[in-house]
């Protein structure tokens, strides 16, 4: 293979700056989307376990809608279609004046999609708790809401830390799709460096390493949370 290796290009300006800026946008997209995913996903997951059938059905519909359509399609729908469906004034504002439209769209799309997946984890966590343990909470006089707050949710969230780790990792990886609507995140910047310098191997190696570093940090963080919150005596606890 006839290829001019030049690792130094990664440390030259403007390319180093591009990489760092890409890293920053990747973090900004993924973390903001995670906040949405966690909040919306928790709400939807909890609503899937309430007694009211209509509420449960609506929550289930959310999950099926968002997890069964390819993320890339959802991203395009949010970016190209949704602004046209909004009331005229709001639509115009979104298209013309909303600051950072690509970023906002990417965050909303990724957040809404991941929320469906988080909702399933939350729901399954709540449903792992046996009926009589739920009854035990009610039997001491807790209201159904208190039973969620003090018994069912604290136990569920501790159980689902490991599967939530996977979702948290996936959101960083999925954030690379934001480049398709013009967010200059890490993958986009790596490609841009390749375009300018023809040093594609170096550029994408740098991106790969940075993704790995991020995800390994996430794994460490979640493991720490798992250790701090794990229920003594549960499976795998020390």
């Amino acid at each position: 293979m006839d290829y001019n290796w030049n690792w130094a290009v990664l440390f030259q300006e403007p390319y180093l700056g591009w990489l760092l800026s890409g890293l920053q946008w990747t973090l900004l997209v993924a973390i903001a989307a995670w906040v949405i995913a966690f909040v919306v996903g928790s709400a939807v997951g909890i609503l899937r376990t309430v007694p009211n059938r209509l509420v449960r059905t609506l929550a289930a519909a959310y999950v099926e809608l968002f997890r069964n359509i390819p993320l890339l399609v959802q991203l395009f729908v949010w970016y190209f279609v949704v602004p046209e469906l909004l009331p005229e004034d709001l639509g115009l504002w979104v298209k013309r004046d909303m600051p950072n439209p690509e970023y906002v769209t990417a965050v909303v799309a990724l957040g809404a999609y991941t929320a469906a997946r988080v909702a399933e984890q939350v729901r399954s966590g709540i449903q792992t708790i046996g009926k009589d343990l739920v009854n035990a909470g009610l039997a001491i006089g807790l209201t159904p809401l208190q039973n969620y707050l003090y018994i069912r949710l604290p136990i569920s969230y501790r159980i689902i830390v490991p599967p939530l780790t996977s979702e948290f990792l996936t959101i960083f990886k999925n954030s690379s799709l934001a480049l398709t609507i013009g967010v200059l995140e890490l993958t986009a910047q790596a490609r841009q460096i390749e375009n300018y310098t023809f040093q594609g191997f170096e550029a994408f190696t740098a991106a790969t390493v940075l993704y790995l570093v991020i995800t390994l940090l996430v794994v460490l963080l979640m493991r720490l949370i798992d250790q701090k919150t794990r229920i003594p005596g549960s499976v795998g606890a020390n």
Binding site: D132, A136, L138, I140, G141, L142, I231, P232, G233
Partner: protein, 242 residues
């Protein structure tokens, strides 16, 4: 004090309770026995509306548990419930298990709740286990904590749903001892159990259930010496034979 009046309950098309009636007086200890699947556990869970009934009425000290609009949490807080598999809150320490209901439901101060919890743990012989998590305790210890948790709410009556059937044989007596003590102090108790020795010692009456029906309600002596129904005779001969 507890009046169960002609209740019926279905699980889909399975008729689990068929016109059951039973009255429990203040201070009375009632043992409910019968073959598995006879509806004993379901009946006892109807008393604090953990299982809703399809028809009939249950009244606990003037409060109609089965009426619409009854504030169930308040009723439930007054009836202690002990489950077959203990059902302690696994993410809370033993003492926190006993304090939870006192603080969240009865609105006692943390100090008052802790004091009450400590005295109850002492009473069931587990004062030194207060800071442990439930999983670190043996089954018998967990069940004693569960009884203490129910007592922490100052209940007017206690319901036990097969409290010893998940225990190793050698732990059964430590739980029964606590229950006998409770009975002697005059607690109103409904106990679903196969422990006939316990029934003989403390129960005033025995209820025999089969296939969702209350087949027999008799004074304990009469029930063991001369059960009315053939089904009860057969049941007794099987469980007393060994």
């Amino acid at each position: 004090m507890i009046k169960i009046d002609n209740i019926d309950k279905w699980y889909d098309d399975f008729h689990v309770l068929k016109g059951c009636s039973l009255e429990v007086e203040r201070g009375e200890v009632i043992v409910i026995c019968g073959p598995s699947g006879s509806g004993k556990s379901t009946l006892i869970k109807c008393v604090n509306a953990l299982e809703p009934v399809d028809s009939g009425r249950i009244v606990v000290e003037e409060t109609d548990v089965t009426a619409r609009g009854t504030k169930l949490p308040l009723v439930r807080a007054r009836i202690g419930m002990v489950f077959q598999h203990f059902e302690l809150f696994p993410h809370k320490t033993v003492i926190e298990n006993l304090m939870m209901g006192q603080i969240k439901v009865l609105k006692r101060s943390r100090e008052a709740a802790r004091e009450k919890a400590e005295s109850l743990l002492k009473r069931v012989g587990l004062a030194d286990q207060a800071q442990k998590y439930p999983s670190a305790l043996s089954g018998g210890q967990q069940q004693r904590v569960a009884i203490a948790r129910a007592l922490a709410m100052d209940p007017i009556a206690m319901c036990f749903d097969e409290p010893t059937s998940a225990l190793d044989p050698e732990m059964i007596s430590e739980v029964l001892d606590v229950m006998v003590e409770l009975a002697k102090e005059g607690m109103t108790m409904m106990v679903v159990t196969h422990e006939m020795g316990f029934a003989r010692r403390v129960a005033r009456r025995v209820v025999f259930m089969d296939q969702g029906e209350v087949k027999e309600i008799a004074d304990t002596d009469t029930f063991f010496r001369n059960p009315e129904t053939d089904r009860a005779k057969e049941f007794l001969s099987k469980i007393l034979a060994h």
